[in-house]
Symmetry: C2
């Protein structure tokens, strides 16, 4: 597996097990698509990484540090997936965030295309997960390194014909896919679940909301039950790896036709 | 800082950043006290580590593997703190737990005594944390590597005169300290918060409950509000590093006298 790892810019370095990323999942991350030898939407991804770090009280490095790391991969970013992780760094024992510690930058590049590249263009097949997300306003929206909930949810199915699982919170509100954000088209409005109690507010979701708004669509963050999702005129998933994908089926419900997907896809591609 | 690190029994090895422990906090851990050159309550700690791993679907190694790791530290376990981490291992990309992967064993020994050794024998000074724990039955009780909640809670205070913070869940139930379990003595009964929605069910808590029951005390896991904690006749904290400690003060409430603490302490020491 042709994977490159940089730790604080140092290729082949390994992680100290004392790093708070390994000890507590005390950090944040981003997953980026590499295309035309460039990480896609790098500016927006680094901005979100910095925002997420700030919410945890982690002093994110200047984006120049990440750019210097990526410069070391020049000529080798042939495609695939780039992952950027930022941990609080190596500190004293105990949960207390140490002061004056240098955060750890981790860059991982895997040139193999993500499995989702094989997903059918005709639409994805979803299931509803039994697993429920906990509601934690202090962590909601952040792409942090505490991802056991996603791991447990993803462990629910083995069937390769199921592409993604739909996650609800403890109160039954639909939040997102296990590794993607959710968009609904209903009665001429574009809806996406509010992410103020749980879930990850992705960069592609933000881009889509911005473009759809600019194109004159009514775009809303809403509380959505499973019945409302089932009643949608069209259902879509998005993230930085899959881009925007339409949903063909969720359990017994099928969406054979598409009305808005192509329009949104064009908006996203035109950026 | 004289710290020894073993990864899968290999001293000085570092962690692959692709390890799911670093990527997702996908693992469990134990913190042990080292005394008389031996990790204390090793049997019970390894049993709990195995139980916690099983709840996450991680195939824990036989305890012989850990004992072989620890044998490599023979003659060097002079005291201090031993930490055992078990991650799901290095797997393919994505949240899905890979099959057939070997979990990663991490052993960290720090021979410096924990800061809590300096805490006063006359009793601890507590605060009530603003931070609320999320309720997640699937993770409740497990000492997993997703510990951002503890980190954020511990970040609330800097005052070295405050030894520990009391954590409540979203519904206001008192659950535990940030790094310890809670015990209450009230009307001749020993109470400890139920940990079926959040919190970590520690080995020292289990030992105390077992010994107190065997000694004829009424011991109960209960739902406890902050008012009930304030109304306790006596308040105690426990974990594997601090053992059992009595609480002298929680905010404005003080407990100048002790009734049961010495009895429980003797039971614990006599094991």
């Amino acid at each position: 597996m042709p994977v490159i790892r940089l730790i604080n810019g140092c290729e082949g370095a390994a992680l100290d097990p004392l790093d708070r990323g390994a000890q507590y999942g005390d950090g944040v991350f981003r997953t980026l698509r590499v295309a035309r030898e460039r990480p896609q939407w790098l500016e927006a991804q680094l901005a979100k990484l910095g925002d997420d770090a700030a919410r945890l009280g982690i002093d994110a490095p200047d984006t120049a540090a990440w750019r210097a790391d990526l410069a070391k991969l020049d000529g080798r970013l042939s495609g695939g997936v780039l992952k950027l992780l930022l941990t609080r760094g190596i500190g004293a024992r105990g949960y207390r965030p140490p002061s004056g510690v240098t955060p750890t930058r981790i860059v991982i590049h895997d040139s193999t295309p993500p499995p989702s590249d094989q997903w059918p263009a005709t639409g994805l097949n979803l299931r509803v997960c039994e697993f429920r997300l906990a509601e934690q306003t202090r962590l909601a929206g952040i792409k942090h390194l505490n991802r056991l909930e996603n791991v447990l949810a993803r462990a629910e199915w083995d069937d390769p014909e199921i592409h993604e699982g739909l996650l609800r919170d403890a109160s039954g509100r639909v939040i997102s896919g296990v590794m993607s954000n959710l968009l609904l088209w209903r009665n001429g409005r574009l809806l996406t679940p509010r992410l103020d109690r749980c879930g990850v507010a992705g960069v592609t979701r933000a881009r889509l909301m911005r473009h759809a708004t600019a194109a004159g669509f009514a775009v809303e963050e809403s509380e959505l039950g499973l019945d409302e999702v089932m009643a949608a005129d069209e259902l879509m998933l998005c993230n930085s790896l899959i881009g925007l994908r339409r949903v063909a089926r969720l359990g017994a419900r099928a969406w054979p036709d598409t009305e808005i997907y192509d329009v949104l896809h064009t908006l996203l591609d035109a950026e």
